[in-house]
Structure formats: C-alpha cells, structure tokens
Symmetry: D3
Subunit: 248 residues, 6 copies
C-alpha cells in the first residue's frame, strides 16, 4: 500500500517531521511519500492562510494521487480535505479529523494542544464543522514566539507538556490531541508522561487511511461527496482541470 501525505505548507522541515512519524506509525508494507506545497505560507494559523493552503494541497494531490492508494492532508485544520474527498478516487484523511476519530475511541472529553494563540479560533471552527464540538474540552496553545517552525516541539517541549497537564486538571480532558504537523511525533516521546491517552495527528491519519484503503467501503457516486457536475472552467492548473473533466 502506498500513502501520499501532502503538506499544505511550504515548510520542508515540517515535511521531514511528518515523514518520520508517518514511517514509524505505518503498518508493515506501507510505503510513505510526503510532498510539500509549492506555494503558501510557512504554517497556517488563520482562515485566510487556510484558503491558500487548501488550494496548494488540492494542486499537489491532483498532480500526484494516481500513484497512491490513499492521500493524507498533513496539516491540522485539514485544509482542502472535504473538497479533495469529492474529487479523488482514493480515500483521503486529514490530521484533525483522524486525530479526533482516534481520540473519540479513548475518552469522552478531548483537549487540543496547539502551537500558537492565533491558531485556536480556526481549529475550533474546524472541529465544530465536523459536528464534534460537544466532545471538545478545550484548546490550549503556546503563547510565545516560534523561532523555527520545524523545531517547535524541541524548543517548547516542557511548555507543551504543561499545557496538556493543565487541560487534564482544569478542563477535564480525558484525551489529549497534540495538534499541528510541527508536533508530529511528540505524542510518542511523551509516552507515559501524561495521565491520559495522547493522540498524534500524523499517525492517526496514516493508520485510518490504511484502514479505509483496506476495507474498501466504496466510492460516492451520489450525494455531496460524488464528483462535481461537469461545467465550464477557466485558468485552473492542468491537474485540477483534469480532475474536473474526467471524474473518477
């Protein structure tokens, strides 16, 4: 099985983190490939940046999906995920959706630990758009400058762990989700150090992608996840145009 992870941000250092955790968590025999967005920002924190990242993720997935059994949108917040689910012929998972799917199986109330104050509003809107708001205990976030996005988890490891502990004690979190591709792998290094289960987005997204590819639930030919109806378009990247003109 081959799984493509698309980093909707331009940060190669984060793509490295994603690749490392994806490889550690994939089942035996799964091949992992990580591609980085050709345009966009270093890391998405806002709705406007997500809008850019969604298009970038769509373009990368459109160009490269044909060689893969499943695709992962490898940024928390899942920019472009629902749209890609309409057009790609293979299962698509995203880090937020997958992490929450795992977390739902481990406890009732879930807290998300994030890398910046600003990112919280967007994360909350994404969680609520999935209908999962009632399970969200809190979102807590670092409130300090990030010197290099690929080094956040080393630089701020103690602060991140402290945020998780406060989420447990003060917010009643029964599961912790470490949010954001820059934190990929941190759950693994914190193993046993927190009093509740800890979930990582990359490993969850890879595992759930494998499961969907293995169980073969079938494609949508009807409803809002069927391919978009054919219609005139203009000025689109050829790979995107191809998805619209020749739907799966």
């Amino acid at each position: 099985m081959r799984v493509l992870l698309v980093n909707p941000n331009i940060s190669d250092s984060v793509s490295d983190l994603i690749r490392a955790e994806a490889q550690r968590s994939a089942s035996p025999g799964t091949e992992i490939e990580v591609l980085t967005a050709p345009f966009g920002v270093a890391y998405i924190e806002t709705r406007f940046e997500a809008l850019l990242g969604a298009h970038a993720a769509a373009q990368v997935a459109a160009e490269h999906h044909a060689r893969f059994d499943a695709v992962v949108v490898a940024a928390f917040g899942d920019p472009g995920l629902a749209g890609l689910r309409e057009v790609l012929p293979v299962p698509v998972t995203g880090m937020t959706e997958a992490a929450l799917a795992s977390a739902h199986l481990l406890g009732h109330r879930i807290s998300i630990i994030a890398i910046s104050q600003r990112i919280q509003a967007w994360y909350r809107e994404v969680v609520e758009s999935y209908g999962f708001g009632s399970r969200l205990a809190s979102i807590r976030a670092l409130d300090r400058p990030i010197s290099a996005i690929g080094g956040v988890q080393q630089e701020h490891a103690q602060a991140l762990k402290a945020l998780a502990e406060r989420a447990v004690v003060e917010d009643g979190a029964e599961v912790i989700v470490l949010a954001g591709a820059p934190l990929a792998g941190l759950a693994r290094s914190l193993h046993g150090q927190l009093p509740v289960p800890v979930v990582d987005g990359v490993s969850s997204a890879v595992r759930h992608a494998e499961t969907l590819a293995a169980l073969k639930p079938g494609r949508a030919r009807s409803g809002s996840f069927a391919p978009p109806p054919a219609k005139p378009h203009r000025g689109l990247h050829p790979a995107i145009a191809r998805l619209l003109d020749h739907p799966r």
Copy 2:
C-alpha cells in the same frame, strides 16, 4: 461610497445580473463595481469548487480593494469571506451571511431556494458554520439541468416560485431567501407574489456593506479577525503577498 462586488466564478453573465441588482438596491450616491474571477468554474456547487473560488475571490479582492469602502463576495456560500475579513482594511460582506442577517429580521424560520440539487449540502454547511442552523427551515432546489447559468431565473422562474411556495406550506418557512448570484433580482420580480417576505443576497450584501462602512465599527487588531501574523511565504500572487506583508 464605493462598493466592490467580486464574483468568485468565471461567469460574466452572472456578473451582469449582480451589477444590475446591486445598482438597483444601493443607496443614492453609492458607486458599484463588479469584477469577475480570472480562474475557477462557471458556478460553484461543491466544496472543491468553493475552494477554487475562494482563492480567486481573494486574489481579485487583494488586487482591487484599495479603491473601495467595502467589498462584497458575490456568490452564495460566501467563498473566501471569513479569510478576507482577516486581511482587508474595509468591511466585507457575503451573500449568504447578508441574506440571512436580513431574513433574521423578518421572521423566525427561513428557507433557502437554490438552483441545483448538488449545491444544497454546501449551502447547509455554510449556514451551520455561521451558527444559524436552528433558524433554517429547509433548503429546496431545482432538479433540472441548467442550460445557461445567466438565464436560470428566466428559464425556471415558475419552478423557483413553486419551490418557495412549498417551503412556506410544507416546511413552515416564514422568510424565503433566493440563493445564488444567478438569482440576483428575482426577489424584486416576485414582489407580492409570495405569502412571506423574500430576501435577495446581492441587495442585502450591498446594503449591509454600506451600513458597516457608514457606522465605522472599527477594525479588528486582536482576535481571530486581526491580520495574520507575519511569516515566510512563497509563490503567492503579488497582491496577496502584499496583504500578508503589509497588513492594514
């Protein structure tokens, strides 16, 4: 006062409808300009198409906003609206949000009449993302092929009126929203023919944009509608890059 309406679709015929209704409904002294997306599809019905339209709307608004007192995202579903509200220095309204704001002042339960079956799921998600789901009586939509998007309201006038009547009788609608820029102006021509108030997105969006520009409630310098934090980016349209580098 000058108001820019951005059509996130590539359809010039729909831009004409938008312009006509915007001019009819604007206050005396308001100048209207309508611009059409340089890339995208003929009319957005799905999440994937909305993702493309959001980027196109952002690009047009980024390039042209400086000459205007307010900007309107002139497609129902409001692609790009929340993101643009973060980065533009002037008020931004969208057709769905504005039509619902008007409708909320006219009755409790609201039905949306739409131009295609497929478009309903996306509309519903947008309405729910605004927290307005409890006021939504129903979405009803045409189920016939659209021969030319700019001619929908002429071609299907009776069917659209019949859908509105069913929404009143069967769904308990107390207000009707005629959804989609291709229906701009239809509320005006149906005046007096339906037993409940009828709201149009373009006129609502223009009027609310004027009101916000006139009342000058102030810009967000804090919270999730403040400009995004500065950070590295790559490959973006110069006008978008300028918005990120030199926030209002």
Copy 3:
C-alpha cells in the same frame, strides 16, 4: 423615510440618548421620532419588567405607527418585538436583534456589555431565543449602583470600556455590543479605543429598519408572522383593538 423609535421604558432621559444617536446614524433624508412608554419602569432588567414594557411598547406602536415607514423597539432585549412584527404593516426592528445582525457581519464570537448584573440573564435568554447563542462569547456587566439611568455612560465610561477589554482578552470576543438604550452613542465615543469592532444597538436598529423599508421584502400573509386570526377580545386599548380587528 420616517422611522419611529419606541422606548418601552418611562425614562425621558434615555429617550433623549436614543434620539441623538438615531439622528446621528440615520441616512440622509430619514426622519426620526422617539416616543416614551406611558407606563412601565425606569429601565427593564427582568422578565417581569419586560412583560410590562412589551405591553407599553405595543400600545405606543399601535397608536402611532401609521405615520411611519418602520418602527424600532428601542430597548435592548426587544420587549414586544416579535409580537409587533405580527401586527404592524411596516418593518419592525429591535436593538438586540439588530445589533447582533450587525455584529454577525464583523466577527464570529460576540460579547455583550451591559449596565447591570441582574440584566444579564434576561439578555441571555433573548439572544438564545433568536438561535444566536452559539455566537455569544459572554455577557459582562457593571456591578455598581446606577444613580441616574440617563447618565450611565458618562458616569461609568471607564468601567464599561474595561469590561469590553476583558471580554476581548478573557472571553475571546471578536466583536463588542454595547447593550442597552442608556449606552446609545457610546460606541461612537469609544471609536478606535478597543481592539475589535464595537456595535451600538440604536444605530444598528435604525439602519436595518431603513434597509428593510427600502428593499421591500414583502409582508407575511402566511405563517406565524401573519396577523393574528380575528377573535373576540375585551378591555384592550383602542389602538391595540384596532390592530386586531383591522389587520394590515
């Protein structure tokens, strides 16, 4: 255009504040008239007082509406608004509903700043009755005695500004609504002093009333905002009886 604002309280000093802000914010050519309730209390803080104010507002509106193109219920909490919308032949707006409609177009999470602790529960119930509870970040209120209701905004300006700042920092408010007719005009004097947009109820209600009167969405002849069915009544004020006997 002529707009009638009805103060459901007996406080002439507050009617003066309402009149001043309504005139400042109305469009050119709009004539404003403010009338004060003939019975009731100095300012409504509770459900029981709102019940009295609703009847008083209904009576004033019933007597005087014929000369106006739109009516505004000029107390936050909107006593009598939904009922008047059933019986009056012109659009009716209320301060809470209108302020929230404006605020919804400026940010996602909204905080209300109020003049007394006691008033908060009633405000919350009104906001929730409109289905807008999910957008409400918080209600914060003064906790000090009010010496003269018409002088609250002068006497407590700093405390009110501080409450708004706490709502932004602690509650995540992205828009502030300054609630209550006694605060009419305060948003204007605080302009630029708060890090998020600030909305005033009187100006919002006047502007939205103008918009509804201009767009002419049509009257409800069906559904729960149509005039009440004819039936026997007894002991009602003649103007109210007339509304029931001769519906628009």
Copy 4:
C-alpha cells in the same frame, strides 16, 4: 392548601373547564380557585396575543395571590410565568412547563396536540425557550375553524385523537401532551384509548404546584428569579406597583 389558577384569556367557558379538571386532579384537601383575565383575547394563538395575556395574568396574580399557597398560569404557552416567578412569594407553575415535566418522566420523545395551526409556532418557541426542544417529537394541530372555544374538545374529539395517533405512528411520540386549557380534561376521557401515556396541562400544573408548596424548596433571594431591583415606575396597576415596591 389553596391553589389559584389564572386564566390569561377572557373566556369564562374555558375557566369552567380548567376548574373542573383542577378539582378532579387536586389532592384531597386542596382548594381550587380559577380567575379569568379582565382584558385580552378569547384564546392566545400568537406572540402578540401572548404579550397581552401575560400582562393580564400578571395583574390578576398580583391582585389575588396573597390568599394562596401556589399560583398556576392556566394557559398553554405559560404567558407571564417566568416574570411571575420573579415577583410572587409562592410557587408558580404553568401548563406547558408542568405538562412537559410530567411527560419527561413517562417517555423520551413527546408530541403536543394543539387546537389550531397558528398556535404551533408560539408553542414551539416556548418549548425551546425551556431548553426542552430535543425531547419534542412534533406539534400537531387541528386545521379547522373553532366555533366556540369552550366546546373544542367535544366538537373535535375524534380529530384530536387521530392527531395523537399520527404523532405516535409517524413522529415517534412516546408521550402525548394535550395542549391548551380548552382541552383540559380530555386526557382523562381518552384514558386507555391511545397506545402511549397522555398528559394534561391543568392536572400536571396543579399537582406540581402542590408538590412545590409541600416540599418548600425555598425562595430565590439571589439570581434572576429574585425580586426585581427597586426603581422608579409609572402608570402601573396598583397591585403590580405593590409587588415592585414591596417585594416578598
């Protein structure tokens, strides 16, 4: 124990139905008195009429409560109930709230059978304002003219029973509430004829009023059900003025 039931409508024939069912369902030793509103309409179907009925109920309760251990607002929709709970020194129940409290103990999903189409929207808003919307399976209502309000249950007995049966079969109702004082006693005559439990508002309101009077849970001296703060007022009925000036 003495219980006062206030009919917020002017219909003496309905007061007779209320009195008969209240006496049948009261505990041994409870004395029942029913008073009719001095002003208002024959039966409340709309928000505007409810606004009038609320004031009328308040005036009757203000004048007469001193001789009673508990007060019942004897119209479905509970006009004035929450306000009276602030000002009266004894427990107050209402037909809707009490019927739902009983129904909640008998099944999960509840349907309300009402006497007119128009009345449904108001009932629904009341149920939702109590936070009980998620238990509401449906509201179904007669769609025929009412010749005499006191004779509805005789005239339309079969139609009302048929509505209840449809609510069970089509809406999944597990409990039926027969709504409206004009239906007082109908649950008793339908006993055993419906496949789910049937609840009557008058008997529930009387019984719950007795329970609250017996258990003596204490009065609110704090929070939003404490008496309103003292303040100037003008033009109020002397009994209402007395409640405001000399709170319990």
Copy 5:
C-alpha cells in the same frame, strides 16, 4: 398508595437515609418501602459501577414490584431507570430525573452538588442524555475522602453548603440539586440557608411517583417504552425472565 424505592447500591446505611426522607416527604396515606441491592458496590461513581447497579436495581424491582403502585430508582444517576420503564407495569421515577423535573419549575439554571470528584462525569452524561444539558449551570463536588458513605452529609455539611454557595455566585445557579442518595434529607436541613431554592432527589422522586400513579396517564403499548418483544433468553434471574416472558 404504596411506593417501592430500590437502592441500587449495597449500602444499608444509605437505604436508611432514603427511607427517612421518603417518609418525611410522602403524601398522607402513602406507604414507603426501601430495598437494598443484593450485589454491587457501596456507592456508584463510574459508568462501570452504574452498569452493575443497573442490573441489581432491575433484579430487585423485578422481584418486588407487584405489591407497589410506583417504583423509584433511589440513586442519583438513575441506573436502570429507562430500562425498567420499559418492563414494569407501574410508573418508575429516578432521583436525577425527578430532581431535575422539580428544579426546572423553580429556576432556569441548575447546579448539582455531588459527593465526589469522580462522580461528576457520570452525572453530566446522565443529565445530557435526558436532553437537559442546556439548563445545567455546573456540577460541583466534594474533593475529600468519604470515611463512611452513610455519614457524608453530617461529616461534610459545611463543605457541601459552601459548594452550593459557590455554584450560586460563580456559576449563576438559580436552583441547587443536592445529588446522591447519601445526601437525602440535607435540602431539608439547609432550608432557608441558601439564597436559591434547593431540591432533594428522594423527595422529588417520591412525589412525582405519587403524581404519576394518581393521574394515571396510561401505559406505553407502542414505541420504545413498550415491553421488549418476546425472544429467547438464557441464564437470567427468574424474576427478570418473568418480566420478559409475561410483559404487562
């Protein structure tokens, strides 16, 4: 009238508290009997313990219900209540459901005071399963070891009162529910000492059971509270098997 209260825990000391409060609060002529679970734990705090208590309560009720007009599940959290409502021929109430039904008639926002930190999550899930979450202001709980479950209310009376006071001041509670059979009778001894009404689960459950038995709303022969369909079973307690084989 004869009412059976089933203590789903093995604690005879708590059964004594239940009996005492039930007798104090029952109407004249009502006979009270309290039975203790033959298996289970000393007091239920978790979902796993509730699962055991539900079966124990079911067994006791199955064996003994025939002599009674109504049955009460006498543990907060109501283990087994909904299931017993399907199979027993008489009304069944539970302490949580009944306390909330009473509390709903006394104020809008309700706080629950509980005997242990751990118990809060289970209580919250039960309240939300009833659809009553929007009325819940908070759950506050003792955070100290319980030396003897039957002596909690004496040992921790001041701490429990302080929790209730904090719920009023900090959480906006308008009604206090003292939760858990070990607190039976505490509301009575706190009478007049708290600024809002206080509700006790045992007295509420007994009174509401009496009311349902008196009003005779009828049994469910349809819907999800009708007796379970007949089917093979194995290894069940004879009294439970009898309920399944010979439904009411």
Copy 6:
C-alpha cells in the same frame, strides 16, 4: 496481536458471523477470538435488554481480557463499552462507535440500517450519547419478523439494500452503516451495489482496535476513564471483583 470480541448476546450463530468478518478484515498476524455471553437475550433491541447485555459483556471481558491486546464489544449499541474502558488495561472498541468513526472519514451525513423497528430508539440514544447526533441523517429499519437471528442478512438482503437506497435518496445519506452484529459481512457482499460508501461495525471495530493497540496512546490514570476508586462491594462475579480490587 490478539483481539477478543465479546458478543453480549447469547446467540452462537451471530458469534459465527462476527468471527468470520473479524477474520476477513483483521490485519495479517492478528488473532481473533469471539466469546458469547453466558446470560442475556438473543439480540438486544431495548434499553432493558442492553442493561442485561452490558453486565454479560463485562463479565466475559473481565474473565478473559488478560490474554488479549484489545477487546471489542461486538454488538451495535456498544453495551458496556464505556464501563469496560474504565476498567480494562487494554483498548476497547465497540461496533457503533467504531463504525461511526470510520463513517465520519467517508462523508458528512450518515444513515444507519437496522434489523428491527424497535431497535431504532436505542441506537439513536447511543449515537447521541457519543455527541454524534448532528451527523446522523437517519436510522431506517426492517419492519418484518426475524425468523432466525443468524440468518437475517440472507433472509432480508434485498430489503436491507432497499432501505439503504432510500436513506441515500430520501434522507441524504452520504455513508451507510449496516448496523448490528447479525449483519456482519453484509457490507462486503454489497460492495459496489450502493451509490455511497458502506461501513460494517465488526471490521471497523477490529481495525480500530488494532490501531489503538499499535499506536499505544497510553492509559487513563486520571479523569473519568481511570479505574474506579476502590470501595466495598458484594456479590459480584469473581472476575469483576478482581478488576475492581486490582485495577490496572
């Protein structure tokens, strides 16, 4: 890896279906064992039967879990799941929760196809207790007698497929969940025959159990999924007593 599936019903024929589908869907190297409840009913349709099945599942899991890396509660409705998650040292999944977790990754609106009319209310309550109600498009169920529970999917294959098709067309389902262990494997045989993805509970529960066992998110030592506090108990099955006395 070794996974234990516990059938909370007494039906060996259904255990065979569970075993077959679990083996087909497990990853290479996973060993499957299925155990059948020693007491209970043939198939759970009601809350009362679920109460019995929960205890039976708990007893089987308590006796046998030590040899396994993960446990699956193999009945739709997940009787006992949340309780077992508190006490077992290994991950526990249930069919409903796992099927929904899979379905959430495939579409937005989900319909559940069930084997009997009566079972629907219980399923709905379980889905809502997980906070997943907003994603539920509908539950549709067979309305015909079941001659042998192990043969439902053969006997009623066409009717079940027709229900799924109606859920897509009439309810807007974007994913179908075939509910109930008696339908284990049906999704596989319907592959490609429905226009939307189809999810099976057994395969989802097995795969998610494997994922949780592989990712090792850690155990809860705090919060409501930590082991219950030690306390007196009586009359419990020795294996259950051992879980309470010697928590993981």
